[in-house]
């Protein structure tokens, strides 16, 4: 897969970026230098990898916090 296409996919499926920022980045991709594409691509790829790895753990952490706070409220 070429890097511009890969970057578009990572931007599209990022939960880190707001819709407004995504739209601005889509417009800029064609004029970005290779270095800029690599830097942003690596960051978004690492961020997404970490998110994928920790989905279940993060959900579990939220459930634990909710359970503790609910017992405090009772």
């Amino acid at each position: 897969m070429n890097k511009k296409k890969a970057l578009k996919i990572l931007i599209e499926h990022s939960f880190l970026l707001s819709r407004e920022i995504k739209e601005k980045l889509f417009l800029k991709i064609e004029t970005m230098s290779e270095d800029q594409i690599n830097t942003l691509g690596k960051f978004l790829a690492q961020e997404k990898s970490k998110a994928i790895e920790s989905f279940d753990e993060t959900q579990k952490q939220y459930e634990e916090i909710i359970a503790e706070l609910t017992s405090f409220k009772k």
Binding site: M1, A6, I9, L10, G41, L44, A45, A51, E63, I66
Partner: protein
């Protein structure tokens, strides 16, 4: 050049990952108003518990913090206007009426500072903040579920894009 053992390099990579994951969570979640409010409520709870903890020591620094917090509450309040609990301000107990911290000073005076008076407004504020934190956590869970669903629906494309920038060795 500094030589690093494989264990140190592995640990540094793991820490970087944790920082990125933490930043990601904060940025994602702060875009949602309910989660943002929960974050504010959480920070406020930590600060209030800190002041209350310090207030347990008679004549300690907690007494000063307690009085500062009570004064800040009166100074920050605009008559007839309810403070916004979704924003973090110097008033750490925005849902608590101004008379509560002052009234709770009475047993502190009677007991010679032994009674941790700030615990009263802290507990009243927590009564309001805990449901906010629970609601925010539930909302955060929904956001994560949505992200997981998006990933599963587009797994091949996303995995290929990740591989393009972070090839597996």
């Amino acid at each position: 050049m500094e030589n690093k053992s494989p264990e140190i390099i592995k640990s540094e990579k793991s820490n970087t990952g944790k920082v990125i994951e933490f930043s990601r969570k904060m940025s994602v979640l702060s875009q949602d108003p309910k989660v943002k409010e929960a974050g504010t409520a959480f920070i406020r709870t930590i600060l209030n518990l800190g002041v209350s903890g310090a207030d347990f020591i008679p004549g300690g620094p907690g007494e000063i913090l307690d009085v500062i917090a009570s004064i800040a509450k009166v100074v920050k309040r605009v008559p007839g206007e309810k403070p916004d609990p979704s924003k973090l301000s110097i008033d750490l107990t925005p849902d608590v009426p101004a008379w509560v911290p002052w009234l709770s000073q009475i047993p502190e005076v009677v007991t010679g500072g032994a009674f941790p008076s700030y615990l009263v407004p802290t507990l009243v504020q927590m009564w309001h903040d805990v449901p906010r934190i629970i609601e925010g956590c539930n909302q955060a869970k929904e956001i994560l579920k949505e992200e997981q669903g998006d990933y599963l629906a587009n797994k091949a494309n996303i995995d290929n894009a990740i591989e393009t920038f972070n090839p597996k060795k």
